[in-house]
Symmetry: C2
Subunit: 328 residues, 2 copies
């Protein structure tokens, strides 16, 4: 591994997702100088995906008129269980065949730069904590509502990962025993009640059962190409079905948040992810009210529940924070 | 406050509960030399209860043929939210009129000895961690199933209490949205599904609806004096109703435990409390199986889920550990 020299002053943050790879280039003040997005093509398998990560990093650096040699380190957030010490992705539900993949080792060989790996929920939380909250709250939770529900916990000022390094799997906290089936095989998980797929499925099922929605006007009866943005538009047109489903999801999110408050007594909870980014105005008030309703008296004193402003960029910011810390 | 001298080598641990006060005297090796139990008489209010704590401590010391002057410090576990720094009980749901009670200050004045306060779930967890597990696991959770459900979290080797010092309120984690009403005002809390009161209520309701159980033979149709020990006896006589209710409670406990595993990735979870003490043989296998079923793959690798052997004494042991640490 090359030693960092005075010239190597830039950092790269990578957000590896099931459908897209995002790479951002940052200076030491963690200002984003430029970013590049590419599709993951997860079905092609780990080797091909790692190639695409390397190319995405190179493209982002080139986009900023920089050279690889000017980069000090690369942080990567991966969607699954990771071993941060060895830099392996142990298991990633949305990346086929990713079992014990030595991502750090391969990328370091390809790019000749130090690479640091973290779980994506943790990395987004790190980004929000450091960039949006100036690293101040000692106890902060990040909860990201997208296709699934991910999270990261900052406890006593540090990312908490626990014995198996798998902590903060909030998406599979059971909120409703016997509730809807989840991808993990259980029933009633947070993710199966309030994740994007859960929301879509509820609307699609209601349409099948004859309920009316403006969504079918543009998307047809099967609503195959539904996106979070369509839901926002439907809400603004006063669509009753979408309104009800989004309200229910926001209530479940509020209850999930309250469980975390009762268990961990955080100072700040930051919500993010595609669903929140698209529907913040429609969901946040319900989420906050429900969370305070369900939090035990005294546990939510002074608690702030806010939506992140980093949006889709929380991951690359957090990955850059990680790279900066590890190359100091 | 008197300085600790060489002669002051004993410690007292107090477990203040809603119905009883237990005080134990310990040597520096945390061997229990003797203990005394008295009723709390909570309805008489804080002043009277604190008097009773002081008397219980004096009786326990006398029982061991010791004098107050030989005691180095007193640890107290209280059933509610406590401010450990000021030594105040902020709020205790099972102790009427206990709001911002300066328990440490009053007891120190009465007994002329240093007093240290902690929440009871935390103190029991500390006792189990230190005395039963030699303080080894870095990430350990204690979950105590009694009238309510209390807990304590050892994270990164230390008791975790969070921003409002209220962490580990597992009893009010919602497991079943819209489920049975809980004392806290919400529905579907862990405690309302699997605490002692929940178990009793389920059996009593079933009897009202005409179901048969051997319990009515000795306790009458209203089952007013039901105790955990009666349930064990009924199970040994093959009582189908009690068997079903206890199985259901054990499954809920398993699901609650799995939520904690998914969120906190502990190495060891220790179960205790009156319900587990009385029904360990009948419940633990179901709890352990359900918890592993619901824990996400990878989060429960190497995880141990065990029943505490300290029983009712976890609180006084933990309180003695606290007193020892604080008077070092």
């Amino acid at each position: 591994m090359p030693e960092a020299s005075a010239k190597q002053e830039y950092l790269v943050g990578v957000d590896l997702g099931g459908t897209k790879i995002l790479a951002g280039v940052f200076n030491q003040q963690l200002k984003c100088l430029g970013k590049v997005k590419t599709s993951t093509k997860a079905l092609r398998g780990p080797d091909s995906v790692i190639d695409r990560i390397a190319r995405c990093v190179e493209d982002a650096i080139d986009e900023c008129d920089l050279k690889l040699e000017q980069v000090r380190g690369i942080g990567v957030g991966a969607p699954g269980a990771v071993d941060t010490a060895s830099g392996k992705v142990i298991f990633a539900p949305n990346l086929p065949d990713w079992t014990d993949v030595p991502l750090k080792k391969i990328l370091e060989k390809d790019l000749k730069l130090p690479v640091f790996l973290e779980n994506d929920g943790n990395i987004c939380t790190l980004g929000v904590h450091h960039v949006e909250l100036d690293g101040k709250p000692k106890h902060m939770l990040g909860v990201f509502i997208g296709t699934g529900i991910g999270a990261g916990f900052i406890l006593e000022g540090k990312l908490y990962s626990g014995f198996n390094k798998t902590a903060a799997e909030v998406g599979h906290m059971v909120l409703e025993v016997g509730g809807p089936k989840c991808g993990c095989g259980n029933r009633g998980c947070f993710e199966a009640l309030a994740g994007r797929q859960a929301i879509y499925k509820k609307i699609q099922n209601a349409v099948k059962e004859g309920e009316k929605t403006v969504l079918t006007e543009t998307l047809g009866q099967d609503l195959a190409d539904l996106r979070s943005g369509d839901l926002r538009k439907a809400l603004r047109r006063g669509d009753k079905l979408v309104e009800r489903v989004i309200e229910e999801a926001a209530e479940y999110i509020g209850i999930g948040i309250a469980n975390l408050v009762n268990l961990l007594s955080p100072e700040v909870i930051v919500l993010g992810g595609g669903v929140i980014d698209a529907l913040e105005d429609e969901m946040m008030a319900i989420i906050v009210e429900t969370a305070h309703d369900y939090a035990l008296a005294g546990t939510d004193k002074g608690l702030e529940i806010i939506a992140s402003k980093l949006g889709d960029d929380a991951g690359i910011y957090g990955a850059a924070v990680l790279a900066k810390r590890e190359t100091k």
